[in-house]
Subunit: 153 residues, 2 copies
Amino acid sequence: MVLDALDRKILAALQENGRMPLSAIAERAGVAPATVHERLAKLRAAGVVRGFEVNVDPHALGYTVTALVHVRVDLAAGLDKTVNELAAIPEVEEVHLITGEYDLVVKVRARDTVHLQELLLTRLHKVPGFVRSATEVCLTSPLERHGPLVKPD
Amino acid sequence: MVLDALDRKILAALQENGRMPLSAIAERAGVAPATVHERLAKLRAAGVVRGFEVNVDPHALGYTVTALVHVRVDLAAGLDKTVNELAAIPEVEEVHLITGEYDLVVKVRARDTVHLQELLLTRLHKVPGFVRSATEVCLTSPLERHGPLVKPD
DNA sequence: AATGAAAGTTGCATGAG
DNA sequence: CTCATGCAACTTTCATT
């Protein structure tokens, strides 16, 4: 799908505030609310807009530890199954297949280091095809946006 | 702030759909809409809810390449300044301070490999205190959630 | 594809329990 | 803290251009 300037204005507004009223977006973009409504429906239908999410502070949920776990897997064992099992873990937030020495990088949230150890030993290291892992612990995360910024140009 | 079962139900509903009407959340949680409204205001005020975001498919915006760039910096040069410059780059989506051989990991979206090279050479490698970097290119990203799942238990 | 108007929902403030 | 009520604001549909 090709995005025009109006589509990008709508997306940029929703990146600022995902619950912004369509009427407010319409005002910003200089069109009628009904137009925004129709555009948004098309963006949804085309898969450009996948959905809307709430941004919750992980600390408030009791998660104080973020870690990036690099995982090497036996690719012969069926990568899909491995990925699906990882994605089904509530504490797993991102799974990427990457180039390089490791095959996957998995972003994990844990309540504390004890919980992290438990996740690693009893969950991540037990997924199908697991070979070994290397973990980087995040001290702070100054930026955690969701998706690249839309340039409304 | 301490979250009770109702708070978690509200957050879980908003994780499914960040634009879900408060009335629908109220029905799911078995309370009045006004109650949800008040709880949400408190969750916002307490910083538990940081905001709402739209989840846009990066491919639709023309970003086909995702990369995790590990960066080693001269910490004496003022880490805050380094982080701020990175966070100001629109193509930068996450910045984490990590333990280990590198100091930062930066998640970047690029239109293509040419754009990635440009970002690395003309932007990331020019931030204050930059020493060296190592880049992992993401082939696919089967899971990209935003925050750990709230368990409504 | 965009609009304005109409009809149906929803959000929000108030006051009461 | 939770809820019921009422009004303002918002979303959605549809006929029109």
